[in-house]
Subunit: 141 residues, 2 copies
DNA sequence: TCCATTGTCCGCAGACAATATACATTGAAC
DNA sequence: GTTCAATGTATATTGTCTGCGGACAATGGA
């Protein structure tokens, strides 16, 4: 088991830029607790090597996460995971998310996916959510 | 009621290009039957006016839909909706869609949305799907 | 003190999106 | 049938973004 970055899929053909794909993937690992506070992320160059992209591309992703408060970047020490509480969502974050969900569903229908298939997938996802994330600590706004 | 384009939200600040947002929005209206075959879409210039973007941006969206077989573009006659059967999905379309769904959920969690809220929204969406789209006619691959 | 490691800065080339502008086509009025 | 305004189309321009190359700066450890 030499895979140090368990699940970090990036798709060079996707229209969403690579540095943002990396940031999103890491964000997911962070929020799911796979990367606990105090942990060291791989160095920029190492991760770039593994993913087959340029260092600055990974650096951009790390900078994004640092700006959001997930990690701390220090020279010669790499990136360390901060003990960051989840942000409290904005007032209409829920509405905007639901709109995105509806768009995703509509797009699936335009591709010809079966409504029954989609409904099953949605219910399955709903079930798995509540188990994965037990309880959340919020930051005070 | 002077609103000729019921629900077509575009976000100039979004990283996804405007012409693709327009195409996606129209595609949704088409698949949900709000735009029946034979209907005329607004002219490129009119829609551009309404949305506050350049004509060529809308033209690009229309061309996309025309390439996909949703509409027919003819000079001086505008865009007419074609009677197009839903495409039959590719072999791994389902898997890729489920991955996108999971990413959407993970992103919501990173924003601090409550798992319970998300689960409820997912279940609600699952329920509404099966009612909205009764039966689908597929094209033969 | 010295040096290898690691993040950072600056500039660049290519791609792409949105626009401006001019053009080609065509249905309809007469 | 001629004419013309309406409408889609083609080309060029401009700005922005991505990913990259290379040089630089800081810094922990030998």
């Amino acid at each position: 088991m030499t895979d140090s970055h368990p699940t970090l899929h990036i798709d060079l053909a996707s229209p969403v830029p690579v540095y943002r794909q990396i940031a999103r993937g890491l964000r997911i690992l962070l929020v799911e607790g796979n990367l606990a506070p105090g942990h060291r992320l791989p160095t920029i160059r190492d991760l770039a090597m593994d993913l087959g992209v340029h260092r600055n591309t990974v650096a951009e992703a790390y900078r994004l996460l640092a700006d959001e408060g997930w990690i701390e970047l220090r020279r010669r020490r790499g990136a360390t995971v901060l003990d960051r509480p989840l942000p409290s969502p904005g007032p209409d974050a829920g509405d905007r998310w639901i709109r995105r969900l509806n768009e995703l569903i509509a797009e699936a229908l335009t591709q010809g996916l079966e409504p029954g298939f989609l409904a099953a997938a949605l219910r399955r996802a709903a079930g798995s959510i509540e188990n994965v994330i037990p309880d959340t600590r919020r930051e005070q706004p």
